[in-house]
Amino acid sequence: MSNSKLYKGSLTTIILKLLNESDKMYGYEITQKVKELTKGELKITEGALYPALHRLEADGLLDVEVKKVDNRLRKYYKITENGEKESSHQLSELASYIATMQALVNPKLSIE
């Protein structure tokens, strides 16, 4: 993750969320999707993305499919059933974290 340490803890949540919304994605596609969605604000580096993907794969939250594309092999990641559960769990945790931070840094904008 390039531009902020604040994003670091949310990387797996971002990956799971993106994969939950699509059938399958490969590493480079994930970096480009994040760049596009955040209008270039957030750039995920290879050194952060792939270890996170491999950890999620090792934990059984992602499944892998390898296909030959443009003369090379491409590793696609798909979310598993456990990954979907973990994704919704992490997203609700993140939402609660954002709400707490909102209440702390900008009480006027907070919901409660």
């Binding site: 490969y26 590493g27 480079y28 580096t45 290879e46 050194g47 792939y50 270890p51 491999h54 950890r55 794969e57 090792a58 892998v64 499919e65 390898v66 030959k68 594309v69 443009d70 003369n71 090379r72 092999l73 491409r74 590793k75």
Partner: protein
């Protein structure tokens, strides 16, 4: 968008291989990432050649790629260890252990087929056979090296040390130990080998399914 040629992809492959990214499964993913980025940059700048973009990219990102390589190997080792522990604690492993305990206690030792002193040659022999098979596959047939399979080697080494320790323990106390304890230790060794071989076969099968185009 212009795609990289086979020669250009081979160039990236050789470069990464020479940079100590030795496992085919890790290299393949990095090649795709690097190639995708180079193709994007080539599209954005028609003047730039493959080699100049590649050089710039590696100056910016090589350290990150090598870091990823190390972390991947670590996560693979953790995955393998978890898999072995899960299999070792399974009901099937328990059945194998009980069956082996019965067989070794009633036949191998009681009928003097093997003496307690020599019974532990069997696990050592099985480990040596497995190692020879690995070396023939990788050095003579030059099969692609896959991280998940090869990192199991470290766990096999730990297993070898466990057998060595058990063997030493038995040898020094051979007169004091009863056959049931010797049989239990023997059954444990063979059950461990059963679990290791089962995990190895499963890991190889997974790779064969996932990477069938390059295996």
């Amino acid at each position: 968008m212009e795609k990289l040629s086979k020669e250009e992809l081979q160039f990236i492959d050789n470069y990464l291989d020479n940079s100590d990214i030795i496992y085919a499964d890790i290299r393949m993913e990095i090649i795709d990432h690097v190639a995708s980025e180079i193709e994007n940059r080539m599209q954005a700048n028609n003047e730039a050649t493959f080699y100049t973009i590649f050089k710039t990219y590696m100056v910016e990102n090589k350290a990150d790629l090598l870091k990823d390589n190390k972390k991947y190997i670590k996560s693979i080792e953790n995955k393998n260890t978890k898999f072995i522990i899960k299999e070792l604690l399974s009901f099937k492993a328990l059945i194998v252990f009980v069956l082996l305990l019965f067989l070794s206690n009633n036949y191998l030792l009681n009928f003097k087929i093997m003496s307690p002193k020599h019974i532990f040659t069997i696990p050592f022999l099985l480990i040596i056979i497995t190692t020879i098979i690995y070396f023939i596959s990788s050095k003579i047939y030059k099969y692609s090296r896959f991280s998940g399979v090869e990192r199991l080697g470290f766990l096999y080494y730990v297993l070898f040390q466990v057998f060595y320790f058990i063997s030493m323990f038995i040898r020094n106390r051979i007169e004091d130990l009863n056959n049931v304890l010797v049989s239990a230790l023997f059954a444990l060794c063979i059950t461990l080998i059963y679990v290791f071989v089962k995990v190895t076969i499963t890991v190889i099968k997974t790779y064969r399914t996932q990477y069938k185009s390059i295996v």
